[in-house]
Symmetry: C2
Subunit: 681 residues, 2 copies
């Protein structure tokens, strides 16, 4: 056991985000780094996405001469005067009219173009000699169908201001205004150093205790997306000297260093100490969740370092021309990025993006922010700004935001997030039904195509998501359990809910619950599947289980589903029938939210068994003791059932290939799929 978490001179002390930024900006200003880094000249063909370092003034007018705007004949407008259908005018080819293509320069004597389609070619005979001519039947005002010089741009005009991120069309306008190179702010060079003895690169078979290192992949992609150039260093073990050496190496050639992780105060967290040794530790700990163990520091750059950069590819500034100012500052900011993937990605958004924006002379990104109705009560720590990931969809007229997992280690919560709701420090949380501002991660179009499913978990939800994605829709689901799904429908927070609630009195599924929980909402209950429920057990059934009665055996550890889940209700019903007390079951209190997580608990031997569906056992190579067959229906409010948004879902239920893909999962029977079981309300 290592002790420096107790003896280390730097200890985590969270400060508010705004104060952390103030300190960072002050340090950057002192180092003369709170401004764009330096300009460089690039060829226009390499300038897409770059930011202009100075205003671009037209050096050439466009067009730069009077040009024909149509294919036709250049003429003098006065020569056409009086022409009409009844009194056509004849103009001689050559002296009076000259054929001209669009874009050709106007002859000096001409001031109008007669379009080719309004011209009749004729041959006159004059003094016995054939002569080509045209006949026209309308007069032209001077400068008709002529693009006069400077129509588009006049030399000296502003084409684009400084600080503009270049789009495809801008490149054309700049070229047209007489330039073929342009000065842009150079890309910030960002070193990304993954540290951790336990880390292994992606693609390595990971043993217990080894963690696949992918934060550097995410951070590098973020940096590229935001206009920087990233260098990913190899993984450095938790060793003070090695980390220090690597930071010194990186500092020689980069504008910013991200060290991931080692930013906390654990026994192998060296980043803060290294920063303190090489320069100044500004901040250790920021009151944001997830992500609080952030380090901000400023170190001195050692220009003389004869660093061994073998195997590290530093981005080249290929576009650079000789003589461009690319002097590096004497100081380099260092950010210690927390190790949890959600924290790491958010640290990128909160600290790295605005710094790159400043260095690139552009405003920080402002995501589209919309108001949405929040679905569930959430408590938040008074001391922290919390960045809550949410799914967002439009249900009826309202945008609905439902919170996702808050775990800093749950990267899938970021992948699935449609946006972020910020709960500021000093606020205790959000009430269900409250209106919140959501910073969107996706386009509004994607949000509009999102089908929100809140309710029971089923193994086929992934197949649904895949099918709908191919049809241009997007399925966003959260596992609230069957009852939770019906309640979400009653609050008009979802488009449909999967449900498998057995009514013991009737032996029927769902209908009694819908009557109780959705009295005011007309719904269509659509058949989906029947599936086998039973005990998920390790291969070979080492504990010799036979049924639910075995759960009360003292040596058996059970893994349960969350309250409100249909499977939990099923269990509780049967335990009651059997007269078994929950207290008698070891592990009854430990809850998982999906069948697959129950199976994972069994596979990892943290439990001996759980109640779930056969397909989950099958997916992880486990054994299964079948106990019940149950019907799993889709409950769809009538207004959504009839809406175009859900059309792809209803088509899916008729699709033979989708049905086959569900049938291929163990324990499923798709015969109910697509049948109307009931129309209610």
């Amino acid at each position: 056991m290592k002790e420096n978490h107790k003896t280390g001179s730097v200890y985590l002390h969270d400060i508010p985000l705004a104060r952390a930024w103030d300190m960072l900006i002050q340090a950057l200003e002192t180092a003369d780094l709170w401004k764009p880094l330096a300009a460089e000249e690039v060829q226009l063909e390499n300038a897409l996405g770059r930011v202009t370092a100075e205003p671009i003034w037209a050096s050439l007018s466009s067009p730069h001469y009077h040009a024909a705007a149509m294919d036709g004949y250049a003429v003098q407008a006065t020569a056409t005067s009086g022409a009409s259908d009844r009194a056509p005018v004849t103009l001689r080819i050559g002296p009076d009219a000259v054929y001209i293509d669009t874009g050709d320069p106007m002859p000096e004597w001409a001031d109008a173009v007669m379009p080719i389609e309004n011209v009749e070619s004729i041959e006159e005979t004059v003094d016995g000699r054939a002569r080509e001519a045209i006949r026209i039947r309308a007069a032209l005002a001077p400068w008709t169908h002529v693009r006069s010089m400077g129509e588009d741009m006049v030399a000296t005009e502003l084409v684009l201001p400084a600080g503009h991120k270049l789009r495809p069309i801008d490149l054309g306008a700049i070229a047209g205004s007489g330039h073929d190179t342009i000065r842009v702010w150079r890309r910030p060079l960002v070193a990304i150093i993954p540290t951790g003895t336990e880390l292994v690169p992606p693609g390595t078979p990971a043993r217990v205790g080894e963690i696949i290192e992918y934060n550097s992949l995410v951070l590098a992609a973020q940096v590229e997306t935001w206009g920087g150039a990233a260098t990913r260093f190899p993984i450095i073990p938790d060793d003070f000297e090695r980390i220090q050496e690597t930071i010194v190496e990186a500092a020689a050639r980069h504008d910013l260093i991200l060290v991931n992780a080692g930013s906390s105060a654990g026994s192998e967290d060296f980043t803060a100490e290294v920063v303190q040794k090489l320069g100044k530790l500004l901040v250790h700990g920021v009151a944001v969740r997830p992500g609080h163990p952030v380090i901000l520091g400023m170190i001195s750059r050692s220009f003389g370092t004869n660093a061994d950069m073998t195997g590290i590819e530093v981005p080249k500034q290929e576009d650079a021309r000789p003589g461009v100012d690319r002097a590096l500052s004497a100081h380099v900011p260092v950010i210690g990025v927390p190790g949890y993937p959600v924290s790491a990605a958010l640290t990128g958004e909160i600290f790295v993006e605005p710094m790159l924006a400043r260095w690139l002379g552009r405003p920080p990104l402002e995501p589209l922010t919309l108001e949405a109705t929040f679905t569930r009560k959430v408590h938040s720590s008074l001391g922290d700004d919390e960045y809550l990931r949410v799914t967002v969809g439009r249900v009826g007229e309202r945008l609905i935001a439902a919170p996702l997992s808050r775990g800093a280690g749950v990267i899938t919560s970021m992948v699935r997030a449609d946006g972020i709701v910020l709960i500021p420090a000093g606020v205790q949380g959000i009430q269900a039904g409250e209106t919140v501002s959501v910073r969107l991660y996706r386009s509004l179009a994607e949000i509009e195509h999102t089908i929100l499913a809140l309710g029971s978990h089923d193994m086929t939800i992934d197949l649904m998501a895949q099918y709908l994605s191919a049809k241009g829709a997007r399925l966003s689901s959260a596992n609230l359990g069957s009852l939770g799904g019906l309640i979400a429908l009653s609050r008009r927070e979802a488009h449909f809910a999967g449900s498998h609630l057995l009514d013991p009195d009737s032996g029927e599924y769902n209908l009694a619950y819908i009557e109780k929980y959705l009295p005011a909402i007309p719904v269509v209950v659509v058949g989906y599947v029947t599936r086998e429920q039973g005990l998920i057990i390790p291969p070979g059934n080492p504990m010799k289980l036979t049924g639910l009665a075995d759960l009360a055996r003292g040596e058996i550890t059970f893994i349960n589903r969350q309250r409100g889940a249909g499977t939990r209700l099923l269990l509780d019903y049967h335990l009651e029938q059997m007269g078994l007390e929950p207290e008698a079951i070891t592990g009854y209190g430990r809850e998982e939210y999906t069948h697959l997580n129950v199976a994972a608990a069994v596979a990892s031997e943290s439990a001996n068994c759980g109640l779930g569906i056969r397909a989950a056992a099958d997916a992880l190579g486990l054994d299964f003791i079948p106990l019940f067959n149950e019907r799993f229906d889709l409950v769809i409010p009538l207004e959504h059932y009839q809406s175009p948004k859900l059309a792809p879902l209803l088509e899916m239920l008729e699709d033979a290939e989708f049905r086959r893909s569900v049938d291929s999962l163990a324990g499923y029977d798709t015969s109910p799929m697509g049948s109307i079981i009931a129309e209610m309300g």
Copy 2:
């Protein structure tokens, strides 16, 4: 003069856009090309922005073992039971408690982590021997502060569906789920062939009749933005054989060929004929404006071509691995892209983007679309879909959309456009005040930061735009003339208007007009500059002009400003005073919208003189006969004057550097700048 525009077998015949697309899709389907092109395997680090070709299923759970979620001590939860402040529990280091860092695997016997901050390290003496231990003052439930296996992802779960464009966070999730490569749809290879004898590359000094070729730059950047890989071919002269050869060459290695231009029916437009010779001409002419001379065709690929690709860099598929299916189809679509820059860029948006989207297995881009109030009546051709460029800003509560230049040659109209309003075929136009849907080209944040100036043109508007851009605001201006600006304010369509309207009765500027046109709107009139108005004339004054009286000399050609412009009103007032009839002035009827365009007309010798400000003459190296000094004010409605949005504008008027930059322009005096001239209404 060439004749094939008359004899050519293919002649421009516009068909509706939807029909053109139907024909294109049918041809692509026949060629088995209306689907993603082919999948290839890429390393995750090269996968940013690529589109998944198949669903990604987790091959590893995350975490893939039970892991500590905090730095602290791994313990058995049962061993902590009963611990409290009053009854602390002591656990021996070693048998009962083991130090563990976040992410470390849990010992098999442990099922909870006591965070380091809740632990007191002590030394016990047992049987006379010192022993390390910890004291704890709270009990833990089983699995507290443990990330159980699969908490984030369980192996076999769907990580991402097919058809998903990869973001930074996605790369992390895929790596965490056990993959280091991924199958994505390969990039479509797009050949861009600029044709035209008159074309010269950017950076070439362009002589009269030469046109700088930049459409290929724009098209290539569009293709890259949309996920394709572009090859820009060198400029090919207008020569049937050369164009044919080049298309055949390009077809050997590309998925799509864009030929620009030669798509019309002029004497040197060969694209349609070449397409007809090499395959099938599907469409020649689409009823869209701008952009109608579009060609759509499908040609046979000649695999045996021993094409000379010298000097042409074809994008490499570096990420590709051996064995990936990259067979090219036997057919290649060809799009003849019109030559006008706005038409070319819109053809990219209308035809190329959706085709690339299909080939990349992603939905076509859907720009954010918002409702806005349209400012001016616009007529549109009944036969065409018109893509009208507009500026957009929020004035008070409403979004305001003002039309920009409709010229197909005016690339600055695309650069300045905040969005597009589509006027469909069959609709005659848009009324002022009508609500229209705008497809935004910019983010809503940018729109919200936009200051709309509608009114008089002044040479310092470019300096304002540059200043405001540096402050994070954006100036969007349209030249409606001084009167037009006041009317726009009265309709609440702009944030401020520049105005220099002389009231002959009082000799005062603007106030009388404001009283008349803005009776109901409280405004602040802020001083800006005085500037010299006079005759803009060629260097050396070859026509020996002395003043306005000379305009009536028959040999003088004048260039005028548009109706409603302050300068036009100034001219008309003086002409009336002098008893000069407009009809007596040659060129009185030819109107330009800016001082600089008036100067450009003089510089290009299409006029002998125009009335305008000295700075415009100065910018183009012209001479100037000063006639008047006039005050140019900013008229700002009180509600905007007091709003944060206009704060940067008001700060600008106090900024010494800005003032200096205006003073440095010829004929300007900034002494009125920032003074309150009147508060009215």
